[in-house]
């Protein structure tokens, strides 16, 4: 399902999509199985969570001293989506430099730091938009940015 869904998204939202003012869009998508993220947490514990997520992210997905695994998986998908959008798979970046922050109104936004922010700036990507979802055993994320 993972690769089929990703392929479908690529067909629906090609890399050269344009915004309303004909500005090119930078897009990324990823989907993960929540049970596999849960297995990573069980197997590696803090080595996994603290390597991939900021303390703020972990705080925001912790309720009653337990991690919300669907939210954690959706954030993993968001980080992978940004890596795809900016073609960072060979950049050697920290996952924590891609942060999903939950705002007081409940919406989530992307905050990029360090070398990821620098690469986004170099690529001319700005005004990032983020959409997260999880249902059943799957969590996904779509990211988009205007490219100037």
């Amino acid at each position: 399902m993972h690769s089929e869904t990703a392929t479908l998204f690529r067909k629906l939202v090609p890399r050269d999509w344009h915004g309303p003012d004909k500005q090119p869009l930078c897009t990324g998508f990823d989907i993960v199985q929540i049970s596999r993220i849960s297995a990573s947490v069980d197997c590696f514990g803090k080595a996994f969570t603290h390597r991939l997520y900021t303390l703020r992210e972990l705080t925001q997905v912790t309720h009653a001293h337990a991690l919300n695994l669907g939210s954690l998986a959706a954030r993993f998908a968001a980080k992978e989506a940004v890596i795809k959008a900016l073609a960072l798979s060979e950049a050697g970046i920290s996952w924590r430099d891609i942060e999903v922050v939950k705002l007081p109104d409940g919406h989530c936004e992307l905050q990029l730091h360090g070398r990821v922010a620098a690469r986004a700036h170099q690529a001319g990507c700005r005004q990032w938009q983020l959409s997260l979802s999880h249902e059943g055993d799957y969590a996904g994320a779509v990211v988009m940015a205007l490219r100037s």
């Binding site: 993220i37 590696f44 798979s89 060979e90 050697g92 920290s94």
Partner: protein, 83 residues
């Protein structure tokens, strides 16, 4: 076969989510073509850190480093040497 490569194969068998038996995969074969996902490569990295008592710095976190047994072996050796 060097002991380190046997350990790497063991980690890949347990965490790589490969779609074929690790014994059938050559040292230079593309692990992503054998089904390893980016999430599985994170698990492989963390398991390697435990197995070899090393830490992959951020600039080592590249798709190509985890793309084959040979490339992982080179990275582990480099991190051992600088440990």
């Amino acid at each position: 076969m060097p002991q380190d490569k046997l350990k790497i194969r063991s980690v890949l068998r347990d965490h790589g989510r490969l779609n074929q038996d690790i014994s059938l995969i050559t040292d230079d074969a593309d692990l992503y073509k054998s089904g390893m996902t980016s999430h599985a490569s994170v698990n492989v990295m963390l398991a390697l850190e435990g197995q070899f008592d090393i830490e992959f710095p951020d600039h080592f976190l590249k798709r190509s480093i985890f793309s084959s047994i040979d490339s992982i072996h080179r990275a582990v050796n480099e991190l051992h040497a600088s440990h």
